[in-house]
């Protein structure tokens, strides 16, 4: 069902935009109209064509057909300079900041105030500081980008737009990289811009954020326009149905299950950071049993990564003991851990999960290529690899351009993640470690990942989940271990606790004396 609300006074109209790339129509006859002073959300799954549409508006791509109007006048936007001249600015999903430049230099790059070619830094600094104060965008103009937080980098990107006096602001998934506090702050700032008469296009796939700040929302699916709706007349459920094309359940269906024997047991684990030489994991002990999902929750950078690295063998612990199925694996090789039943969905899927320039089939067999099924005297049996890959692709619904021979780099994030999950789940395992498995995925893919994790639990496997998303933590875990400053400060039951309480533990405002767990996981 397509609803289009139409009531004049548009600052930007993108009419019947079509943009094709080899083999795919990224935007198919899409019309989007932006009103003056509104926050207009652009919703869609990964690969729905949101970013392409915005790149067309920003002059990075030229549309194959269709036209763009500003204040009713047809305009041609050939490059970002043209967009800038029309008052269009964009905060890109991956920030476009030069790391070795200062904040100030990044803001003025391309529009430097200058006399005879010489940059007038003082003039620029004055204007930047005025903007910074006016909008509450705290930055240090002389700090280098590489030294500041992601949140401040984003403020630099926003200041870049304001410095150029842009009145049409595009935000491409601005909240993906922020902490909950920073998200709240950003949404307030966006509202402030709208009140001032600036018009905002807000790309996202987080429905809560749309409900909170957006006036209207345009939904794309697979390159096609599904519709534009008034946010106050709609619901999260309706939006998600428009986005995905089917009903999405927000809560995960989970049967009661009694945990079985201890699969993973960690005792008094200490890890020293490679970066600053201090203890980042302090005396951490916990068990994960068969048939339960244990979640380590906490704000990013509190030692989660190091705990997982120690368990999976990516990093050596300084002291402590890690047992898997009763075997001491503290110093074992990664291959041995894998054989003993550990599967790992890593935090950084590009760095540790996949060989991006390998084919899909090669990636799918990465954990198993040495087994007799796939090799003979060192030679890979490519026909069995192919067969195996085809089986997994079908079973796990991995979508790609050319099937088993697709280069993984060219696949969408969701399907890359599916490939990792397929590989890790299909091999023999008793323990599945999933670190932020839904990061950067769209809602359909998130649902899929959650279903897979719960299915593993129901199949009697132990699941250790590390997540920063509170919704995810509350929805799918059986037990929550809250980590703060490298220590486990509380163990919570998701059924009896609240988001607020969890938040207090995560911020370090509350902590329990966690009872000592006596010796290893023997029953």
């Amino acid at each position: 069902m397509v609803k289009v609300v139409d009531m004049g006074d548009y600052i930007i109209e993108m009419l019947n935009i079509t943009k094709k790339f080899p083999g795919v129509v990224a935007n198919d006859n899409i019309t989007l109209k932006l009103k003056r002073g509104e926050i207009h959300a652009l919703l869609g799954e990964n690969g729905a064509g949101k970013s392409t549409l915005m790149s067309v508006l920003f002059g990075l791509y030229q549309p194959d057909s269709g036209e763009i109007r500003k204040n009713g006048q047809v305009v041609k936007i050939n490059n970002p300079n043209d967009a800038n001249a029309l008052g269009i600015g964009m905060v890109h999903q991956h920030f476009k900041l030069v790391e070795i430049f200062t904040v100030l230099e990044n803001i003025i790059l391309g529009v430097e105030p200058s006399k005879m070619g010489f940059i007038q830094k003082n003039e620029a600094r004055k204007k930047v500081m005025e903007l910074s104060e006016k909008y509450g965008l705290r930055v240090d103009p002389d700090a280098y980008i590489e030294d500041i937080t992601v949140g401040m980098q984003q403020r630099v990107e926003i200041l870049k737009m304001l410095y150029r006096d842009n009145e049409i602001l595009i935000f491409d998934e601005p909240t993906a990289v922020l902490t909950p506090q920073e998200i709240r702050e950003l949404l307030q700032i966006m509202k402030g811009f709208a009140r001032e008469g600036k018009s905002i296009l807000f790309i996202t796939h987080k429905l809560n954020e749309i409900m909170e700040v957006a006036d209207r929302c345009t939904v794309l699916r697979k390159g096609k326009l599904i519709g534009t709706v008034n946010v106050k007349d709609t619901t999260k459920e309706e939006l998600s149905r428009m986005m995905v094309g089917r009903d999405i359940s927000f809560s995960v269906n989970k049967k009661e299950k009694k945990p079985g024997k201890v699969v993973l047991s960690v005792r008094n684990l200490n890890v020293v950071s490679k970066i600053h030489g201090k203890n980042v994991v302090k005396n951490v002990s916990f068990d994960v049993r068969a048939g339960e999902i244990v979640c380590i929750a906490g704000i990013d950078g509190n030692g989660q990564t190091e705990i997982v690295n120690a368990i999976t063998g990516l990093e050596k612990p300084t002291s402590g003991k890690i047992m898997l199925n009763g075997h001491d694996i503290t110093r074992a090789s990664i291959r041995e851990r894998s054989i003993r039943g550990m599967s790992h969905i890593p935090e950084d899927r590009h760095k540790h999960g996949l060989v991006l320039d390998y084919k899909l089939e090669e990636n799918l067999v990465l954990q198993r290529y040495w087994q007799p099924e796939f090799q003979n005297r060192g030679f890979i049996k490519f026909d069995s690899v192919r067969k195996y890959a085809e089986k997994l692709i079908e079973k796990f619904d991995i979508r790609s351009g050319q099937g088993p021979v697709t280069i993984v780099r060219s696949m969408s994030g969701g399907n890359q993640q599916k490939a990792i999950i397929a590989r890790e789940i299909d091999k023999d395992h008793d323990l599945l470690i999933a670190v932020q498995p839904t990061r950067g995925l769209d809602i359909g893919a998130i649902e899929y990942v959650h279903k897979q994790l719960v299915e593993r639990r129901d199949a009697g496997k132990a699941v250790l989940l590390v997540s920063l998303e509170l919704d995810e933590v509350m929805d799918i875990s059986d037990r929550i271990l809250v980590i703060y400053g490298g220590e486990i400060v509380g163990e919570l039951n998701p059924k009896t606790t609240t988001m607020e309480e969890l938040g207090l533990y995560m911020s370090g405002a509350k902590r329990d004396v966690v009872k000592e767990i006596n010796d290893a996981g023997e029953e």
Partner: protein, 321 residues
């Protein structure tokens, strides 16, 4: 004290070609194009500079005028040769290291061929004396005058001038800021409307100018105005790359690094004047290895910490992200 004067007077004319060529490399690499071809560009500039001198030397012009004119010729020659690199690296998106290497291999052969054809020799030999005994007024300043303005070449003053201009352009101008952005994060530069291709052409072209001039200054300050196809510029183009890395792609540090290498070389060639070293009885050939051995040692220790422009060597492709 005599020996200190001597070393300084002889270090500078050697340091200047290194300085200029390394600055050229800096402009090219901070725009994002790896310039291995510096050696070739130097030699190309040196050859045309020397050819120019050869053809005008009998006209009775002032030697310093000839030097300035030949410098312009060398700059133009350097630019022309560097355009081959720009074209391959920017337009054709070719591998920059391979392109640079082939450009290096081409030039000595070409010089030998043409010199044999037209001069029946291995290179160009000129007969203009560019040496300056003493610069009027400045040369009379106590101590400093003797160090910097006596028994020297005009190339030294020009080189320092280029250093100052380069530093100002690099750090204080719109152009410099944009150029550096292109070598570090071309997508960021593109997103604020900077034409990355143009900036990279500009960077390589500047390296052509400085490389060509540096080559000619090498033949003036080190080879008495001659160029031949066998010794070429004796690896000074590569040494300049080391100077650039040692100097961390920064003009001031590059200047110090070029002085360091030039000093070692001068020292190596002056052993017989330094009784202490001479009496050690080490074969002088070993001393001549000094600058090159130092290159290896210095790079081994600094290259780990060194921070090259992030996007250098990667052809810019608008559509990839």
């Amino acid at each position: 004290m005599e020996i200190v004067y001597y070393l300084i007077q002889n270090t500078l004319p050697v340091a200047i070609p290194l300085l200029l060529v390394a600055l050229g490399g800096m402009f090219s690499e901070t725009s994002g194009v790896v310039n291995i071809a510096l050696e070739g560009i130097m030699l190309f500039g040196a050859y045309f500079g020397a050819l120019f001198v050869y053809f005008v030397q009998d006209l009775g012009l002032n030697p310093q005028t000839i030097l300035l004119l030949a410098m312009l010729v060398a700059a133009v020659a350097g630019v022309i040769y560097s355009l081959l690199l720009s074209f391959a690296a920017v337009n054709m998106k070719a591998n920059q290291v391979i392109t640079g290497t082939s450009l290096n291999m081409l030039i000595p052969a070409v010089i030998l061929l043409f010199s044999k054809m037209y001069f029946n020799s291995d290179g160009v030999t000129t007969a203009v004396n560019f040496y300056i005994q003493k610069i009027p007024v400045l040369g009379d300043i106590p101590v400093i005058g003797r160090m910097f303005f006596q028994k020297t070449y005009l190339t030294v003053m020009i080189g320092i001038l280029f250093l100052i201009i380069s530093t100002v352009v690099f750090y204080k101008t719109k152009f410099g800021l944009r150029l550096r952005a292109c070598g570090e994060h071309p997508h960021a530069a593109d997103s604020v409307g900077i034409n990355v291709y143009k900036m990279r052409y500009a960077g390589v072209t500047i390296s052509g100018i400085l490389g060509g001039i540096g080559g000619f200054f090498y033949s003036v300050g080190v080879m008495d105005g001659n160029v031949n196809g066998h010794t070429g510029v004796a690896g000074f183009g590569f040494l300049a790359l080391a100077v650039m890395i040692f100097g961390q792609w920064r003009p001031g540090k590059i200047f110090l690094a070029s002085l360091f290498f030039a000093f070692l070389r001068t020292l190596a060639y002056s052993i017989s004047l330094i009784p202490f070293l001479y009496n050690l009885g080490i074969n002088q050939t070993y001393y001549k290895m000094l600058p090159y051995v130092a290159t290896m040692v210095v790079l081994a220790f600094t290259s780990k910490k060194s921070r090259a422009p992030k996007a250098e060597g990667i052809p810019y492709d608008k559509s990839s992200r």
